[in-house]
Symmetry: C2
Subunit: 211 residues, 2 copies
Amino acid sequence: MSRILITSGPTRQYLDPVRYLSNASSGRMGRAMAEAAIRAGHQVAVVSGPVELAYPDGVEVIPVVSTEDMLAACLRLFPECDGLIGVAAPCDYRPVQVAARKIRKNGSPLRLELVETPDIVATLAEIKKAQWMVAFALETEDRRMRAMQKLEQKSCDLIVVNGPAAMHSHETDVEVLDRSGCVVGRWAGSKETAAAGILQVIQERLIRGPA
Amino acid sequence: MSRILITSGPTRQYLDPVRYLSNASSGRMGRAMAEAAIRAGHQVAVVSGPVELAYPDGVEVIPVVSTEDMLAACLRLFPECDGLIGVAAPCDYRPVQVAARKIRKNGSPLRLELVETPDIVATLAEIKKAQWMVAFALETEDRRMRAMQKLEQKSCDLIVVNGPAAMHSHETDVEVLDRSGCVVGRWAGSKETAAAGILQVIQERLIRGPA
């Protein structure tokens, strides 16, 4: 039995009290990974951005809004976990200035300066000890090459690559690559089926001893 | 029996295939208004941005993504309707440039130029004939004054004012103002209760003859 940290869903970076930058991650793949891990007898903590779904019973859920919140929760939980599955699609840019009041329209263009938010998986990689790490990458082009770059940058053991069609859908189409660039798994169909397959690869390759 | 057009939910303005600008409107107030109208025996069409809820049986639902899509659907439906209830929180800025591919992070700030999207209620006001119009306003300060400005700008008969706490919540706290600035209704509590009250005001003041 391992203790597994899963990040799930999108995050939001607010411009003002009403408007935010985000993406269409639904949390369904994160939920499916949590369900597969719980079923296999693991202890699961899910740090989740705002989603409209319920995580399985038995999962410890830590709701967050922004990428900074998600990172803070992960930094707190990760040291006590055996591994990380980074399924979330954290919003990776934030407005430099956040208005305290709703920005009023005045007919003029609004110029927004955005800076990158911290990379959650890469930050956790810097403090990891014996933990294993699996990241998800959403790529619209050169999928394998870019995923391998991310695997390197984030010091992951495995990376799961999918395309934008997976967002806000019940279906997905994923490949799992290892550190040598080999495709060690591939699933198309329901997110539940893909999650069960990905968890099996994680168990066989990263979780030592019986699950 | 009237034919009522309701807009509901948020809209999204994409920067690239993954990232978008939006807000936390859940569509719950739009669904509650649709339910109240259906129960009162009206015909209801809902033009809805991306939401994770189901509208009541009997409602014609037209799903849209962007503010431009929402406007196009409304322009098509409005001429055949007797009135409009604009509950949606359309994203009111859009990026001038939309990237065809996912914008890659490179460590530098991202400068985004945003311009206003068309105002749906104000645009429909320009083509309205005998139709009545009710708008919702989300205000964080000077609520009544700003709501009255919007009522004027959008040529509405009534305006429903609420605060950002209503977003993504099951509860709301609304006031209905008429063209003279009088508070003609006020509800705090479930969105269903508020919607029933708002619909009653609409029936009494705007829908001539028996409902």
